[in-house]
Amino acid sequence: MLKLLIATAVLMMFAGMWEVVQFFLFVLSFLFFLKCTHDFFLYKLGYMMGMNYLSFALILLSFWVVGLSVCSSQKVKKNEYFSKGFLLFNLFLLICLLLTFSVMNYLFFYIKFEKSLIPTLILILGWGYQPERVQAGLYMLFYTLFASLPLLICIFMLYSVGGSLTIGMPYKIMDLNFESMLWYISSVFAFLVKLPMYLFHIWLPKAHVEAPVAGSMILAGVLLKLGGYGIIRMLPLFSFINKSFVWLWVSLGIVGGVLVSLMCLREVDIKSLIAYFSVAHMGMVLGGLMTSSWWGMTGSLVVMVGHGLCSSGLFCLANMVYERIGTRSMLIGKGLLSFMPSMGLWWFVLSIGNMGAPPTLNFAGEVQILCSLIGWSKVTMIGLGMLLFLSASYTIYMYSISQHGLFYSLLFSCSPGKIREFLILLLHWLPLNVLIVKISTLTFMP
């Protein structure tokens, strides 16, 4: 693990040369992919870091998404808008994420979890469009910060009661009194806000709408998964108490997902639409996670990876439209099949990936979550049915409004798209549709 960390840290020294960083990020992700051994439960241990199949999937996702986001932020380099600082913050964020997913200590994990907020904030506020318009920074910072302060207290309590903070070491909390329930709620609350769960999701659309493309891609692609990862790490400690609360999280996840999907159908700003459907997907992930079944857990991991790629790809596409037309509004940026016909392929492929059409990762994961949730209670069929139907409907809405229709211009012209853009979208789509043939790389299914 240390070799990757040092390699990324050294890469920060080359932040002055954009092409070097861009290239080596992909080299590093390839090198990391070679570690796909799935030895024992924990492997590559050392220096308080270790790897699990879960960490492997998410670290790979972080390398991949950060590499692609650097690739798509070519405008920053072209306009020389502090490109060196931009790359530095991206790489710093990557290091934070690497560490977050691989440390074996709860406190260390918390520190990294909070640390990843700072470069994200600077990326969004520094290179974003007009973040002060919706107070994006304020919402993101304070929502996640205040939600995670109780988590710190819980970790200290864990140390004093359990005696150790290494993941897997402290004993399960077996009491059911008020104190333990409060302990449990405070621990998972931070991750629920990060996920984001329905009632605490309002920071996500605000942050996404005004963020630059790299910020959006990393935020949607990896940072939301921090929430899921945290829940998976915390849950084994509290699984006894969790059984009494599953109904709450599953209901919030599914009902919240349905309500947010209905909101998607009314969205006009394309980035806001993609942000809202992230909330819907993560609601389903939350439901799958909290049921504590094996299929639920692996299903949510698969959906997390799939959603990371899909969302990130769609943000990339939205940015390509923005760079050419100058607006995020779908009222003006429509009729894109006339304007950028080749991109229509990628819009379509990523949209159907988003709604979970086979053979994508999203489909496999959703099937697994469906099984686990319906196994937990048949009543969820209603909510899940509506959720899946609405996800198809808002995807079709997004695709149809942006692609079909008239594009007003006196010119009979089209924009072919740049090769770099095609490469980025191909690299988003390839894992999404191809990994399903060897899904055991992501799920630990022997």
Partner: protein
């Protein structure tokens, strides 16, 4: 590896040829903060030279034009500024909400600009409208009404008191008696809009708008020379659905006994949907409604436009496209500050000064298609308000004499507005808006006194002058995209009939932007292309 070697070789060469100093090259090589803040070569910026004679008017420093000062240069500084001002504004808004419940004396102090949350400068918007007169406000209103929160519309107006705007100095007439079908259709929609304005432009909690539409019609008189043209125009108007009637000289005398039909063969009167209204009220209602729907009006002058060549577009039949996309505008506020606004679509509704805005992107300064400037210039026109105690009564329409002089009733106290468009050779200078009384004595009074004998003993009550956004090419409006810019709409050059066509043009531009084509009235013939192809669309005037 190869890259590093190449970079070192390049640095070495630069040092030797001393293109940059040694320190700079080494800094660049090591990747330490030496960044050139230049922009790529395909971005061109045209800046208007400051013309000392054309300073825009002094305005009092209004406290609500105070925008948040956030430096947009350094991202770290920007992050810090945004976070601190967000927190400050949150605190201010909470404080002002708390203070609202407190007694009178503290309430007064809590609402001043120090404690109110600061306004944010709209540095990114979807549609930027240059010019806040009736045309710009109509475009903003129609866009916001259809798109609601879906579009961010900003209107830049350099004089919020509208001292020199053509809109408020207009006589406010509306007629369907044109010879170009598009003009007839636009005016017909204009009347429909005026009739529905009480409900369309009503803002909750405020008085409904009162456009004061007087539907007394227009009376176009023709002498023997112009009778044929009058009949042709009349037939076209009837075909298009205008409610007009043809009156011979005898009928004219019967209907309007005060009219002297000497030299007049016939006339066409508008029975319905023609008349006059209060243009200031229309402007104010449109603006108020647009603002209530979320459009933002900014007081400032557009002094620069940045465009970028879209070199990757593939045009039909052309290898390298020369289409430019305008990306941002530089706006100078009354207090001298300069800010920039990035937008997706630009709508030029600057009236008589539209040509200047065109020059900001080089329209008229280049070669080929760019050599054609926007052919709009300000032309001064006088309006005289006279008092005639025995003048025509309530049913008098707006009468247009064969030689172009017009008059209409104003109010119920015996006041009349009159005027005449001067001939080309007599065009008054546009330096100021001073009124020439000799013109009234020599040209206007004799004509109207001859046409209406009871005007012999009138007295000049008051007068004013205003600018026409005069289209020197064919005196009809220019509506549509410019061929070489993918996102610049022109809505100007209406040469005196802009006020009546404003709602129709606003709706047409909205349809282009939101629906991709003209849906209700097809204004393709009024596009900029006719200027390049030199096919003027003249109004066939009656003599």
């Amino acid at each position: 590896m190869l890259y590093i070697i190449r970079a070192s070789v390049r640095t070495f060469v630069e040092c030797r040829t001393s293109k940059f100093s040694t320190r700079q090259s080494l800094c660049r090589f090591a990747g330490l903060g030496w960044t050139t803040r230049g922009v790529s070569s395909s971005t061109k910026k045209y800046k208007r030279q400051k013309d000392p004679a054309r300073q825009f008017p002094e305005l009092e420093d209004r406290s609500d034009d105070h925008y948040r000062k956030i430096k947009h240069v350094n991202p770290y500084q920007r992050t810090y500024d945004i976070l601190t001002s967000d927190v400050k504004n949150f605190y201010k808004s909470v404080k002002s909400k708390i203070n609202r419940g407190e007694p009178q004396e503290s309430r007064g102090s809590s609402m001043d600009s120090r404690n109110r949350p600061e306004k944010i400068w709209p540095s990114y918007c979807d549609v930027l409208v240059v010019g806040g007169g009736v045309m710009g406000s109509s475009v903003a209103y129609h866009l916001k009404e259809r798109a609601l929160q879906g579009l961010n519309v900003v209107v830049v107006e350099h004089d919020s008191t509208y001292k020199k705007a053509s809109t408020v100095l207009s006589v406010g007439g509306i007629r369907q008696q044109f010879s170009v079908p598009e003009n007839i259709q636009l005016s017909m929609y204009g009347v429909e809009f005026l009739r529905k304005s009480k409900s369309l432009l009503a803002v909750e909690g405020m008085d409904p708008p009162d456009i004061q539409f007087n539907p007394h019609g227009y009376l176009t008189l023709a002498s023997e020379a112009g009778i044929q043209q009058l009949i042709e125009n009349y037939n076209l108007q009837r075909e298009m659905g205008a409610k007009v009637d043809f009156l011979s000289a005898v009928k004219l005398k019967q209907r309007f006994p005060w009219l002297n039909t000497d030299g007049v063969e016939a006339g066409v009167i508008g029975l319905e949907n023609e008349g006059w209204f209060d243009p200031w009220s229309l402007l104010f209602s449109l603006k108020r409604k647009a603002v209530s729907l979320g459009a933002q009006y900014v007081t400032g002058k557009v002094t620069g436009l940045n465009s970028e060549l879209q070199d990757e577009m593939i045009l039909e039949g052309v290898a390298m496209s020369n289409i430019r996309h305008i990306k941002s505008a530089e706006v100078t506020l009354p207090n001298g500050e300069k800010h920039s606004i990035n937008f997706s679509i630009l709508v030029v509704a600057a009236g008589a000064w539209s040509s200047e805005v065109g020059h900001l992107v080089g329209i008229g300064d280049g070669d080929g298609i760019m050599s054609f400037p926007v052919p709009v210039e300000p032309r001064k026109r006088y309006v005289y308000c006279v008092h005639a105690p025995n003048g025509p009564g309530l049913n008098s329409p707006l009468v247009i004499d064969p030689n172009g002089t017009y008059f209409r009733r104003e109010g119920l106290g015996g006041l009349y507005l009159c005027g005449q468009s001067p001939k080309e050779v007599n065009e008054p200078s546009i330096d100021n808006l001073e009124v020439d009384y000799e013109y009234f004595e020599d040209e206007v009074w004799p004509t109207i006194a001859h046409r209406v004998p009871s005007f012999e003993n009138l007295k000049l009550h008051t007068s004013w002058a205003g600018y026409y956004d005069y289209n020197t090419f064919d005196q009809n409006g220019i509506v549509g995209l410019h061929p070489l810019f993918s996102n610049m709409f022109l809505t100007t050059g209406f040469s005196g009939h802009g006020i009546q066509q404003a709602p129709g043009v606003g709706r047409a531009v909205m349809e282009c932007i939101l629906q991709g084509e003209y849906c209700t009235i097809n204004l393709e013939r009024l596009g900029f292309d006719r200027i390049i192809a030199n096919t003027p669309l003249f109004e066939k005037n009656i003599v």
